[in-house]
């Protein structure tokens, strides 16, 4: 974060548009699909612009090793992983410090919405594979995981969506990409369940004033509402087409 962007690149142009032509409050083009993997109980692929994340959900099931089991609810296990080919330079496939931390962050943003009490002494496995990284991989991961959980039929309190708000050249922008994240002043990933009015993830890297923070949060919640509506549309389309096919 910080520093100067490459020559010829203007993060915010004179017309107020960002380097990729978006207005500050505009999301990247989002694509979602569920049921993309045959062997998983639930799966989804989510694209935020050039960022692409594949999610697979297994369970609730009894794990081979029993130590993760909890006596009163299902244990959620999340593995966030970046494919070696997901970045410009090859990323070592071994789990890095960052990936282990992001696994925890994504897990904690899903835990409040999964109704785990129905399945004590089991685990729900969520695998997140970043196929292509262009900023906002954790937010795309949360969205993909939420879709895959719904696709697996696991009871959830609501669908969650996630987006990152950034501050670039003093302007608050929605859904930061790699470049804006690298050269911007702040980055604030937010995950929330708009149906319940609950925020499940809030991180802030950089500095925002009180006013900026409130505005950023409002922008995030508004965008998340759009994202969750898209999730619902995708699920509705998938399941109505399946039901229609059977008749």
């Amino acid at each position: 974060m910080g520093g100067k962007p490459p020559e010829g690149v203007r993060l915010i142009g004179e017309d107020g548009r960002r380097h990729d032509g978006r207005l500050p409050h505009e999301l990247r083009p989002i694509h979602m699909e569920v049921g993309v993997l045959n062997n998983a109980d639930g799966s989804a692929i989510v694209q935020y612009g050039r960022t692409r994340v594949l999610a697979a959900v297994y369970g609730p099931r009894e794990p081979h090793q029993k130590f993760p089991l909890l006596p009163d609810r299902a244990a959620l296990r999340v593995r966030y992983h970046m494919a070696p080919f997901s970045t410009e330079d090859r990323k070592s496939p071994a789990p890095s410090r960052r990936e282990i931390e992001l696994s925890k962050v994504v897990r904690e943003s899903l835990e409040p919405i999964v109704i785990a009490e129905e399945f004590p002494r089991t685990v729900i496995d969520v695998f997140l594979e970043v196929l292509q990284a262009d900023g906002g991989t954790r937010t795309a991961s949360v969205t993909a995981a939420s879709l895959a959980l719904a696709d697996a039929g696991i009871p959830m309190k609501a669908l969650v969506g996630s987006v990152a708000i950034g501050k670039v050249e003093g302007v608050l922008v929605v859904d930061v990409d790699e470049l804006e994240d690298m050269y911007g002043e702040a980055d604030m990933p937010v995950a929330a369940a708009p149906d319940l009015g609950e925020i499940t993830l809030l991180q802030l890297n950089g500095v925002l004033s009180r006013e900026e923070f409130s505005t950023a949060l409002e922008m995030a919640l508004e965008s998340i509402k759009t994202i969750v509506d898209m999730e619902k549309d995708v699920l509705r389309k998938t399941y109505t087409s399946v039901e229609g096919g059977e008749q």
Binding site: D41, G42, Y58, G59, P60, R61, E62, P63, H64, I113, I115, F119, P120, R121, T122, A150, D151, A152, G153, I154, P155, M156, K157, A158, L159, A193, D195, L196, K232, L235, R236, Y239, T240, V242, E243
Partner: protein, 217 residues
Amino acid sequence: MSFYSRQLLEKGEVMPGDEIAGIEEFLPGEGVYVDEVDGVIRAAVVGRAYLDMSSRVAYVKPARKMEVAGLHDEVVGMVTGVRSDLVFVDIYGVVRLSPKPRWLYELDAPSSAAIPISQVADEYVKEIDEYYRLSDWIVGKIVSKHPPYTLTTVDPKYGVLYARCGKCGTLLEYQSNRSLKCPKCGNVEKRKVSALARSRLIQIRPIRNLVEYRYPW
């Protein structure tokens, strides 16, 4: 037709978090949860919501059912341990025995279960060895809510489906409901044999040391 004469009211497609009914009016059924903050019943899964007007239950019929074992499910598993008071079983799949035996689905991962001696057979069981032995394939019914499950095999339709000879390892053949015979060495072993063990609809094919079950049954 009055409103109350309708038994089932369809509320259409729902997504997790969608409001279905007020908590004062309905009881929560399958696929829903109670949001205590707002005092409403919300959908927990993707599916179609219904209001049962006679029993006052709100529930969601899921669009995709989870493939997990649960209470009252009939399951197939392998005996992994025998104790004087308990038989340990690994459950591999869920079946439906009536009206026609049918394989429903295989579990993601084997689920552990146990048959207490009181649930082994409909008689006084002195030696549990005379009912089940290690590596027997059995069919039973789940009588507990959560894993490790408790199974019952009291009913005649439950019991051993396939077993191997303790002397030579050959697949044992049906002799009676209480015994199996080895076609190779003539050894007779005592078991609680399922009434369905001879059914052609239930087939477990032995391949080397593994057992491959063929489905649909």
